[in-house]
Symmetry: C2
Subunit: 409 residues, 2 copies
């Protein structure tokens, strides 16, 4: 859409309301739930079109409200074109008026996807981040540095450690005031994060977890009998950090939502419940010619949580070095110092680099060690990989350093 790959918003919808209706599901569009009465087991709703209100009783309830863009409380920050969030940008899609300059605020995944989309349209783009590095929550600083080289190679004006302070609009431009001076631009995309949508749950008395998202168990049950929750609004178990987390990722929402839906049905039939064991926060994003992927614990998170870890970073290539298109691939592994158990990984490289994180994610989830990663029988042919897959090269280097007693910690 914004990147002009997809022309129609409707293409992104897997099943339409009518398709759901044909499966016997009573879909009410443009109908907002304005309150949940847990004691009476009913929801209060208001129809967006007519303003009509009503109540709907339930036996079992699934709370799946998702997440919303965070909006900073800063002077001049009334939302609406030319200052908008990624969700609003997606809705604009192909109807984004032609502009020369864009300012993207925030260097998380969504911010980088916005940068990618702006550059694909040939728009001069500035990226500012509050922190010293982009991808602060998903990549360790030395890997983020690799990403920043990519950003700069895309002719993006990247300004780290530059918090936004205010926005000022004139008739023909927008001026962003930052801690490091003014930036004049045509549009501002505020990609500073998203938060679980929990207001209704909170008002009703459905417990939230420490993350601020709805607390659930592995069967997606909330603390209230008969009320399930799943998706960006709910917590999910971090299998490697061993704590409840709140990710806003399609994979996790899809899996947890599926378990919640099936468990609502199972409970109504008296069948055994299914279980969502959790996730490790695996993500991938495309940035220009590059692919960024990660899974599991960051080095900093692992240390903060008291894990005794070492790390290994290698530069190798994503395909056989003599093949056209071979280019540097940076990979980092985080692993338990004693057992060698793999706890996390990050990859930055060109075509074919990113999905390699899947083997690391599988290792992280099922407790595999560095040696088991080295011994895995991964696919090799020159157009696809060096003989030693990059994640194996990293694991092998880590084992060699360990046997030399020179761990990086």
């Amino acid at each position: 859409m914004l990147g002009e790959h997809v022309s129609d918003w409707g293409q992104l919808i897997t099943r339409s309301a009518d398709e759901h209706r044909r499966r016997g599901i009573d879909v009410r569009e443009q109908t907002e739930v304005v309150g949940i009465d847990l004691a009476a087991q009913r929801v209060h709703w208001r129809a967006g079109s007519s303003g009509a209100e009503g109540v709907e009783p339930y036996d079992l309830l699934a709370y799946t409200t998702g997440a919303h863009d965070v909006r900073p409380d800063l002077p001049g920050l009334d939302l609406g074109y030319p200052v908008f969030t990624p969700r609003q940008a997606m809705q604009l899609g192909g109807r984004l008026p032609p502009v020369q300059r864009a300012l993207v605020v925030g260097g998380g995944y969504i911010g980088l996807e916005m940068v990618e989309a702006m550059r694909a349209r040939g728009i001069a783009t500035t990226l500012i981040t509050r922190s010293a590095h982009c991808l602060r929550r998903t990549f360790d600083p030395e890997m983020a540095t690799q990403v920043e080289s990519v950003i700069e190679s895309m002719q993006v004006d990247f300004r780290p450690a530059t918090p936004l302070q205010a926005i000022e609009r004139s008739s023909d431009a927008v001026v962003a005031h930052t801690a490091r001076g003014e930036i004049e631009t045509d549009i501002v995309i505020l990609a500073i994060g998203s938060a679980p949508t929990v207001e209704l749950a909170q008002a009703a008395g459905i417990s939230l977890g420490e993350t601020g998202a709805v607390a659930v168990d592995h069967e997606q049950r909330t603390r209230i009998d008969g009320v399930f929750a799943a998706g960006d609004c709910a917590e999910a178990w971090d299998v490697v950090g061993r704590r409840w987390s709140n990710w806003h990722l399609g994979t996790i929402a899809n899996k947890a939502g599926r378990v919640a839906g099936r468990n609502v049905a199972a409970l109504s039939r008296g069948d055994p419940l299914e279980r969502f064991p959790g996730a490790s926060g695996t993500t991938i994003v495309r940035l220009g010619e590059f692919e960024l992927a990660r899974t599991g614990l960051l080095e900093s998170d692992a240390r903060a949580q008291g894990f005794q870890i070492d790390t290994q970073q290698v530069e190798t290539r994503q395909i056989a070095g003599y093949m056209p298109g071979a280019s540097p691939l940076h990979a980092k592994l985080i692993f338990a110092r004693d057992s060698g158990r793999v706890l996390g990984g990050q990859i930055v490289g060109q075509r074919g680099a990113g999905k390699r994180i899947d083997v690391v994610a599988t290792a992280v989830m099922y407790g595999l060690t560095l040696q088991q990663l080295v011994d895995a029988d991964l696919a090799y042919a020159p157009p696809f990989s060096p003989v030693w897959d990059p994640v194996q090269t990293a694991a092998r280097a880590a084992l060699q350093d360990q046997s030399r007693g020179s761990g990086t910690a």
Copy 2:
């Protein structure tokens, strides 16, 4: 080289003889070992250039002679241009004279790579196979059928079940006689397989295994004290088939060779030996716009070995269906009927499809189940994957069929 990706044979050599010498290794090029005297612990050699002969004593020996192309014993089959093997074709490389027509004999991986290289040069190509399907040893028939659609889409004249019987040369063409008639062509590439090079070992009295390759243990020791073997000439443990096998794959040769080399050094120092646990025969090959990948047991092998299995085949897409470039991906899983343990997998699809086999290979090696594959936290973004990775879609479909009691067996 043959596909014109690589211009110089030397680019394919990881380390030159001089680089080895600088590391203190006494490299003798063009020096053939003509006999191994196990009792006296010495090898007899002959220098190819001078014809000089000599003996070299050893304390420890590594037998790493690799494999050679199989040459059928058929009338008219003197090798030499225009009738040659894949190894000879690679040596010709860029010096392959311009020709109009090529006949590739044999539909294994190497045969398909030859087809790929010929078509990349715009040469009209005929492929004949003895069996009813290509990739008989690596893909189940219904997946091979998908590959055959690809072959035919590349304007290759594919003729299965067409054994070669004789070759006849005239001044300006070659005529191949087959069980189904004559084929006139300019060159013939005989890609009918490779065999472990074991003559020296056999003559010396080093035991071979049931596969005909040198028998080794997990430390790469042969049955003779102080003699190690590794690579295409040696057996390797099939972790899923639970038997010794003989693969001719760079990954396995590299890993086993590394263990053999390190163990020769370790034994000379009295250090503990390393272990090569084995492999599952994971491979990937590019064919036109397509990627073919596989790991573990074939359905037919699994049944022949008495495994109680079911299988699941799905058609999905390699990236989000609404993205440009989205195209069908066929995936098949073979799994234990009772435990759901994943025993093998095969994938055929376009860009980005093939390396997905790595997660299946990891599952196969470490005994993961269908449910664990479904629960793996694999990376998703629209340019890289559907929300459910194709291997997870296959695993999920298998579980659904199982719970409906409708396994395909």
